[in-house]
């Protein structure tokens, strides 16, 4: 398909997607608050920037990065590739044979999170509210590291076959302990960064990876094992953001001594 028609179609879809949000906001503004929106012109221009930006972003992803990502996910989880890589064709695959899958999961987790628009928004807001104490890039990298580790561990779980809730509950316990010791001001932001990591970019790629892996690994079912990667991607950033804050607090305390 032609680039321009694709951009146009995506723009139309994006506009349709925001219709409920816009109608709720403007409905309340007109019927409940009953005041004109300040700087309506800027808001409308800004909103069209957001929509056009989203459309270009999605077309770029869909046309170039998603096909490559899903193709790689399929090829890497293909039993033929996996058994060829260790040269032992007749032996059953063990978890170390999936080395490239883990590495792919790490890099896809990191790169998709860095490009996540929702995370950029939260990072900008956090930077503004904390008067610069929380860096936009610092937060984005901390979250991306969390997602990367989370998804890599998630693929390991699918290969390994241990139940999902075992990891999630262990993750909750770590979050609980960190909450007791982390700087108080970071806690709400850390919890939030768990939720923002997985929207437009990460979900389709990660779901493809999970389902592909669960289909190809012997004795795994897509229903039981294919899902759950996104849960890892939303739990681990909480841990990594609190760890980042704990680390910088510890460093500044050490420097002060």
């Amino acid at each position: 398909m032609n680039w321009l028609t694709m951009i146009f179609d995506t723009l139309r879809d994006t506009v349709l997607d925001v219709v409920p949000i816009v109608s709720i906001v403007f409905g309340f503004q007109v019927f409940v608050i009953r005041k004109p929106i300040p700087q309506l012109r800027t808001v409308i221009i800004g909103l069209s920037y957001v929509l056009l930006g989203m459309a270009l972003f999605l077309v770029g992803l869909e046309k170039a990065l998603f096909p490559l990502g899903t193709l790689m996910a399929e090829q890497l989880t293909d039993p033929a590739f996996l058994s060829a890589s260790d040269g032992l064709f007749d032996q059953p695959l063990g978890w170390p044979d999936y080395f490239w899958v883990y590495l792919f999961a790490l890099s896809i987790g990191f790169s998709t999170t860095i490009a996540e628009p929702a995370l950029i928004a939260v990072a900008i807001k956090a930077n503004e509210v904390s008067a610069g104490a929380i860096g936009v890039w610092g937060l984005r990298v901390a979250v991306a590291v969390g997602v990367a580790l989370g998804i890599a561990l998630g693929t390991f779980r699918i290969v390994n076959g241990t139940p999902l809730y075992f990891y999630i509950i262990a993750g909750y316990v770590i979050v609980l302990i960190q909450t007791l010791y982390a700087p108080r001001l970071i806690i709400p932001l850390a919890y939030d960064s768990g939720g923002v990591t997985t929207s437009t970019v990460t979900v389709p790629l990660v779901t493809a990876l999970g389902l592909g892996l669960a289909t190809n690994v012997p004795d795994r079912s897509p229903l039981m094992d294919g899902f759950g990667l996104i849960a890892f991607a939303s739990l681990f950033p909480i841990i990594s953001v609190m760890a980042y804050a704990q680390l910088s607090e510890w460093r500044s305390r050490r420097n002060a001594e």
Partner: protein
């Protein structure tokens, strides 16, 4: 490329795609500060000045429910969940049964996010610490996991991650921070954040409940 030893298809398309992603993000960030942040903050200030708690909570619910039900990522996951459930034998494998399963799942998640934003806004007004709610929510998740059917658990955990879209996150964050800065005695950093966390936790519990009841 090096691992699979296969050429990357359409290198030209890949480059244009990458360029579009960067251009799109730049425009999006530009628009954030002009539209989404000011809208969220203006609404927060207006509701705080108006002093009507019920309208604020109604707005919070509408925002959570309305934006989630139409969320493309959720629609995709719900469809996949329906297919997986049909293949697993949990529901009949026909189009209409799958569609109604997917729609019911979306409705469940929408409802849970609406309730989450209401609870989160109420928390900001009261100034209660966020961790009590989150830890309480985790306890709920763990409790539900022990009684939910195994097939729904992965889907439930995933649905928590897909609810918060690119447009909703900046709006909701600005709303929370705006509320916390306009109410006396609230710290925007301590009280303003946390709405997204609520919105990603409640769907997990609700979807597992859905799995038990459906």
């Amino acid at each position: 490329m090096f691992v699979l030893q296969q050429p990357i298809p359409n290198l030209g398309d890949l480059l244009i795609g990458f360029l579009l992603v960067v251009l799109g993000l730049t425009l999006f960030i530009q628009g954030l500060g002009m539209a989404l942040f000011p809208i969220g903050e203006t609404m927060a200030y207006a509701f705080a000045r108006k002093g009507s708690l019920w309208w604020l909570l109604a707005f919070a619910f509408a925002l959570g429910f309305g934006t989630t039900i139409a969320e493309p990522a959720l629609i995709a996951v719900a469809e996949k969940a329906a297919i997986a459930a049909a293949q697993g034998g949990a529901i009949d494998n026909s189009d209409s049964v799958r569609d109604s399963y997917a729609f019911a799942l979306r409705l469940t998640v929408g409802l849970s996010v609406g309730i989450a934003i209401v609870a989160g806004v109420f928390r900001i007004i009261k100034g209660w610490p966020v961790q009590y709610f989150i830890i309480g929510g985790y306890a709920g998740v763990v409790a539900m996991t022990t009684i939910a059917p195994a097939g729904i658990i992965g889907i439930a955990y995933d649905s928590g991650g897909v609810t918060t879209s690119t447009i909703t996150v900046p709006l909701v964050t600005a709303l929370g921070v705006g509320l916390a800065s306009s109410i006396k005695g609230r710290n925007p950093m301590l009280d303003g954040f946390g709405l997204i966390a609520f919105a990603s936790l409640t769907p997990i519990i609700f979807v597992m409940a859905f799995g038990i009841l459906y």
